[in-house]
Structures are given as structure tokens and as C-alpha cells.
Amino acid sequence: MISSALRKTWMDIKKLKHEPALAVVIAAVLVTTGFFVLWPIVKVVSFPRPADYLQLFTNARWFQAALNSLFMTAISTLSCTAVAFLFAYAITRLDIPLKGLFRFVTLLPIVSPPFIVALSYILLFGRQGIVSKQLLQANFDIYGWHGLWLVQTVTFFPYAYAVIYGVLKTSAVHLEYAAHNLGATRWQVFRHVFLPLCRPGIAGGALIAAMNVLADFGNPMIIAGNFTLLPTEAYMQMSGWFDLSSASVLSTALLLPALGLFLANRVWVGRRSYVVVTGKESSLRAYPVPSYVKWGLFACCLFVALFVLAVYGVLFYGAFTKTWGYDWSFTLRNLKYVSAKGTELYNSIRYALFSSLAAAVLAMILAYLAERKRIGVNRLLDLLAILPGAVPGVFLGLGFAMAFNRAPFELTGTSAIMILALTFWNLPTCYSACLAGFQQIGRSLEEASLNLGAGSFRTFRSILLPLLKGPFLSGLAVSFLRSVTCLSVIIFIYSAHTSVGTVSILSLVQNGAWGGASAFTVVLISIAFAVLAATRLIPATQDRRSL
């Protein structure tokens, strides 16, 4: 079995001698991607001595951080999935008003900086919070796991929603009618037909949410307080003590469950199509549910939607308020924080542009080779392209910091390392967009081109590239936004000259300058969207929302 597989691989590789240019491209892509994806991982994992890893169990603080990370992931995944399911069900199955608003609410958190919800949460419920101080005149400690739980739920439920929505949209309504026809009650149909059919979607959504919560750095950094998690603890070790070994141990401890979730996602849900029955769109209307259920669910959605709107509204308000909690009058003063950090803003946009462009181009080439060419190394290329998706941002950043800190690969403190790290962090996003694009283009189109005498490059350029414009641009747009708002990856690799907007926001938050932080965030997002608008990429962000 194995030897015949190897033989086939060898045959495929041998066929490349007819297209030497293609062979060169494959070799180049393979070496580059392999180097930037694998080398940082190897560096981090192999840095600590084996004895250091034992500390994970002996050092009570670390052990607690690991437990906390798992605990937070577990409860947030549950709540994210529940809220996501609620929204997906309401939007696909119920005949209710305000669906447009609900859709909008599921999109907002995906296109904004990861820690924005945490920041707003402080503005709402913190010591000077608008709800806690003005409305309730109460003073409660919001830092800790409850706050983080709420914030993670609001931040990451849209990712789960995207997956679950995809499944519910295509799930077969006529099967439910069939079950009713056989005498099942509404509840029985829900339990026996509906839920089993969307189980893969729910599992997929839950896993996506879990991966994001586990790897998240921004929110815990801002509001977890003494509730330490693996990513924040790794950061503390680095920034506080410059302890590479401890940071590596903690990051590796984070990598393991992340890899587990990633594998589970690939094996259970990954490639399997979410479409349940046939490609035939069903035009049947969903079986009506009793009105108390309908309006009950509507009320829940509305509550969540209002909360999300409050999160963004308060941020905007905070940006133009004199002193949060004391003086609510309008001011533009906070913008001076922003103008003082022009370089950082410029860096944010610059790095995001370069890295998303590089990621989109590389992803396109990788997807083409892995999906369309029988070259013997398809599986390997595919793995390299998606692997960074399994690596938490903090780990990736640490990896780049450690892998490229001495000759001949000395990049410490340069713009190059920032761009490279963001490029490979975004690679899976662009890659999966391109891959899905390729899978939608019938293979026969490409064969028709070959058949008419076009070689691989010509076919790629004149047939595939024009047809893949959509996925390419959406990968580009989403990557751009992710890069502008990224904190976890760059926190270990930025220097005084290469600092970016998100770092400035974090330090404003840490200094309690809420107004400045809000203003900075608003400006950063506005610039990002302005760039997207200028390049006509806004619609592209709507296509892809998960991963």
C-alpha cells in the first residue's frame, strides 16, 4: 500500500520534467512555506529543556493558567454556540422582523479589533461605567472570569454563527414536512429530524468558536484581571522577565489543545460538505412554530443585538467624551492621542496591506498547486497552508521572534518580520477562500484549456485567475482587517520603530485612558474601512466570515 503510494508520488513528480518552470515554482513555494511555517514552531517547542515542561504541573500558577484556559474555552464555546444557534435558527426559520439588524450584529464583531468588546465592557460596567455608575450606581468588580466569559461570547459567537447558518440555510425543510406527515409533533420533529441534520454544523461552529476563544489574547489582556490564561501568562513571562523558556513552555501548552481542536475540526467537519441533502434549493417555507416560541426567541435575539449595538455605540461615545465617568461633555481632545501616534497608524495600514497581499498571492498559488495539480506533494502543501490556522497568534509571534533573531536570519525589530508574521498568520484565511473557489470551478474548464493547447501557466492566468477574483479579493479584504486589528501575533515582535495601532490602544487601556483608547480604535477601524472602500473591497468582506 505505502510503497505503491510512494511509487505514484514518484511518478507524479517525474511527470514534472515536462514543465520545468512549474517544478521550480513548486520547489520555491514548498521551501518558503515550509521554512516560515515549520521553523518557528520547531524553535519554540524545542527551546525549553524537558525539565522546564514539567513546571507546567509543578508551578501552581501555570497549572492554574492552563486550567483557566480550558475552562474559559469550554464555557465560552457553550455560550457562543447557543447564541449562534439562536441567531441562525431565528434568521433561517422564523418569520420575524428586524432580521437585517440581526444579520448586521453577527457581522460587526468579525470586522473589528479583537479587544473592542472588552474595552466597551469596561466603559459599560467598569468603575466609571455608564451602566454601573450612572444607571445602577453600583460598584462591582468586573475583572475576572464572568466578565471575560460575557465578552468572549459576544466576540466569538459570530464565528460559530457563520458555520451554523450555512448548515441551517441548506438543511432540508421537506424532511421536516415528511416527519410531520408521519405523525410527529413539532418537538419530536425538532429532536428527531432537525437537530440530527444540523449536528455537523453545530459541531463545526462550536469548534471554530473554541479555537478562537482558546487562542484569544486581546480580551483577556484587558479584562481578565488576576484570572490568568496561557496566552496572557506567556506574555507576562516575556515582557516582565524576558523569560523565553517559560514563554515557550506556556505557548506550547496552548498549542496542544489548539492542535487538538484543529484536528477535530478537520476530521469531523472539515472537508465534509455541510450541505445535507442535494444541491436542489428547497423553496418550501419552514413549518411555522407556535407564536410564544417565536416571540420568545425574537426577544432573546433582540436582547443580544441591543447589547452588541451598545458595545459599539459606547465606544463611539467614549471617543468623544471628556472624562469617562465624570465629565460627559463632547470633545475632540481624545484625537490628540491619535495624532501623537501617526507612525503607529501608518505602520498598521502599511503592514496590513503588504501582508494581506502577500498572503493572498501565496495562498492562491498554494491552493492551485494543492487542488489542481497532481504533483505528489499536494497533501504536504495543503498541510503547510492550513497549519498556521491551528497555531495561536501568541505562539506564532513568539515563534517568529525566536526563529529570526540571529544571523543568517536576523530580522529582529524590522518591518520585514512584522509583515512576514502577519502574512503567514493570514495564509490559512486566504487559502481556504481560494480553495473553496477552486472547488467551485469545474475541473473540466481547466482541462478544456489544456486540451486546446494551453500549458499550466497560461491556463492559470487566463482561465483560473479571472474566475477566482472573488475569493482572492475576499481573502485579501478579510486578511487586511485581521492584520489591522491584530494584537496577539505582533505583541512579541514589534519594536519602537515598528509598533502598530493596536499596541498603542493596549497601552492606553492599561493606563486607564479610556477615551484615548476609544478614539484610537474608532480612528483605526475608520481608516481600515476607508482603505477597503478606496479599493472597492468592502463587499468582499461579507463573503467570508469564518476562520
Partner: protein
């Protein structure tokens, strides 16, 4: 070039997917300028063979030669074997003109030559005036003509077609058939055509290769395949056949005398050697049996004249198909001229023409 050399030679070619043998030991010679049809049920490997010829896949064993030159390993874009795809595979982002001219542009054909050839093609395929449309703005029939034009514009001597007519409606399919045949003969193209429609195969082809489960069960002219099937599969797949089991009672020169349930029949052995006592199967086409109402006196009970009872009848327009019970046998009989007599009922007399009976060795026809 040697006149006797086949244009395309397929020599003991096999292809497996995982552990599934999609093609096993396929050998087929395709003469210069001929129209060869690969006919067989769904999943028998027709498309797989086409893809091997076009170079999209490589065989696991055996050789494919074009003009005597082995093409295994030659990439698809060097083979000059234009293919008309079943789903047409028109480039959705290119206009009709760009689709058809794509191959010419790849060859760096001079501009005015492209213009001339394109004019000819658009004219020939009735696409004039549609050249600026995108494929999705065309009807199915128009798309299909674009696909043909695109494959033919470079004037190559080979044309591969994988069920090109299957997306057309029944009437159009019949119209396009004769145009296609005419075009192929005029241009002297070597055509390989895939279909699972026996009428299409019989009406278009110089030669038919009947496929089943990755093997060729018979290759021959339409006449041979229809009237002299090598085995029961071919007899059954191409047209409708009655299979009448029997036993050889005697051999007389090139004829055999076969004992079957209603009577003894003397039929041509078709070049096969039989010995008395061999089990055989007689293949009789429904239209080779004539049917008439049982005469009052019972008629002459000759060896080739059987009496039977009609079980049911189906009106097919140009004929009536009867299912007739003759003792232990059930026969399908076509009455080709129904307008004269109308439906028959009850007892009937069947007459078999021994010259039109084909004998296969073994029970069930091997």
C-alpha cells in the same frame, strides 16, 4: 504515413482508481478518418478512456499511440486532441468569440488569419451575431455549437466527443447527428464519440466498441454489433433481443440444428464450431419475427412457425410491441406496420426467419 496504420491505437490499456479497475486491457484501433463510438452503460469507463486519450490522466498499463507515436506521458496541451466536453466547459468569463478563438491565440495565429477562421466557424455553426455574448446568455443548443466550434477551429485531425449531445432535447439530438456525421466526413476527421444511446451509436458510427465494466465486449461495424453480437451483453444492450435457450441436435455444413422448446430450428452457425449436445442461446430481434392472427385451420405447423398467445401489447407509434407466450417461452415481437391491422389479440402465429437468427454458445449466451 502508412495507410494501414491506425490513427489512434489503444494497446492493452488499463486504469485503476484505488483498488477499482475502471479499465482493463482495452485494445482498440481507430482508423484514420473513421467515426468510432464508445458505447456502454453508465460507469463502464468510457469517459475514463477519453481522458486517457486526451492526456488528462495517465494509464496504469498499456500504451496509447497517435500516428504511431507513443503519447503516454505527453502532457494534455501537447496532444492536439480537441475534446467536446459533456457539460461543454465553456469559459464563463469569455465571450463566444473569445472562447472559440482561445486555441488560435495560444498558437499565436496571425490576427487576420484568426479573423478569417472565426468568420468561417461562426458562419458554419450559425453563431454569427452571437459572438459578443457570454456563455450564460446562450441556449443549451447554442452553447453546444460553441463547444464544437472551439474544438474544431484549429483544424486538428482528431475530434474527441464525450456525450456531446446528451444535454439537447430529443428532437434536436437527432438533427445534430446527421450534421455532425456530415461535418466529420467532409473534413476527414478521426472522431471518437462517447454515448450510452444505442440509436446514436448505430446511426453515426463506422465502428462501435461496446463497453461493459471496464472491458470491450465487442468492437465492430454497427451492422455486426446489431445482428452478429458476440455475446448476450452486446445483444441485450444494443437493441432489444429475445434469448431462446436450446441444445444442438445436429450440425449440417455451416448450419446447426437447434432444439428449443417449441421446435427444431436450423440456423447459420456464424462461423462457430458446435457439437451435438452443446447448450446454445438463440438471439432473435423482435422485428425478425413476423406475427399474424392464428388462422382458423391452425395454419401450417412448420418448424419455424410457432403458435402463441398475446400477453400484452405496447403502442410505440411506428410499431406495436407484443409480448407473446409460446409454451414455456416469452417472446417480444414487433409489428412494424400497425396501421394496417390494428391490435392483435389472443392466439397468434409467429414466423421466424432462420436467416435472421444468431446463435451464441452456452446458456444465457456466455
Amino acid at each position: 504515413m502508412n495507410a494501414a496504420m491506425p490513427h489512434i491505437a489503444i494497446d492493452n490499456v488499463s486504469k485503476t482508481f484505488g483498488s477499482f479497475a475502471a479499465l482493463q486491457g482495452i485494445t482498440l484501433d481507430i482508423p484514420q478518418g473513421s467515426f468510432t463510438t464508445l458505447l456502454g452503460p453508465s460507469g463502464c469507463g468510457k469517459t475514463t478512456l477519453m481522458r486517457l486519450i486526451a492526456g488528462f490522466d495517465e494509464p496504469d498499463g498499456g500504451e496509447i499511440r497517435i500516428d504511431g507515436v507513443k503519447v503516454n506521458g505527453v502532457p494534455a496541451f501537447r496532444r492536439q486532441t480537441p475534446l467536446v466536453f459533456q457539460e461543454y466547459a465553456l469559459f464563463p468569463h469569455m465571450t463566444v468569440y473569445e472562447n472559440i478563438a482561445y486555441g488560435l491565440k495560444l498558437q499565436k495565429t496571425p490576427r487576420e488569419q484568426i479573423g478569417r477562421k472565426m468568420g468561417e466557424m461562426l458562419e458554419m455553426f450559425g453563431l454569427t451575431g452571437l459572438d459578443n455574448r457570454l456563455p450564460k446568455q446562450l441556449s443549451g443548443g447554442q452553447q453546444q455549437r460553441v463547444a464544437f466550434a472551439r474544438a474544431l477551429v484549429m483544424g486538428q485531425r482528431v475530434l474527441l466527443m464525450d456525450e456531446p449531445l446528451s444535454n439537447l432535447d430529443a428532437k434536436m439530438r437527432v438533427e445534430v447527428r446527421s450534421e455532425l456525421r456530415e461535418l466529420q466526413q467532409r473534413a476527414g476527421i478521426t472522431a471518437i464519440f462517447v454515448t450510452h444511446d444505442q440509436d446514436e451509436a448505430l446511426s453515426l458510427s463506422d465502428r462501435i466498441a461496446v463497453f461493459d465494466k471496464g472491458r470491450i465486449r465487442q468492437a465492430g461495424t454497427p451492422w455486426e454489433v446489431y445482428f452478429k453480437p458476440d455475446n448476450a451483453f452486446v445483444a441485450d444492450f444494443v437493441g432489444t433481443a429475445n434469448f431462446i435457450p436450446g441444445e444442438v441436435a445436429g450440425v449440417e455444413g455451416t448450419d446447426v440444428v437447434v432444439r428449443c422448446a417449441p421446435s427444431l430450428l436450423r440456423v447459420d452457425a456464424g462461423g462457430r464450431a458446435f457439437r451435438p449436445g452443446d447448450r446454445v442461446t438463440l438471439v432473435v430481434r423482435p422485428e425478425c419475427i413476423s406475427i399474424s392472427a392464428e388462422e382458423a385451420d391452425g395454419g401450417v405447423d412448420a418448424a419455424n412457425s410457432w403458435s402463441g398467445e398475446i400477453v400484452n401489447s405496447t403502442f410505440l407509434g411506428r410499431l406495436i410491441r407484443y409480448r407473446v407466450r409460446c409454451g414455456p417461452l416469452a417472446c417480444i415481437v414487433d409489428d412494424a406496420d400497425p396501421s394496417v391491422r390494428g391490435f392483435l389479440r389472443g392466439a397468434v402465429r409467429l414466423r421466424l426467419d432462420p436467416g435472421k437468427i444468431h446463435v451464441l454458445p452456452g446458456e444465457g449466451g456466455g
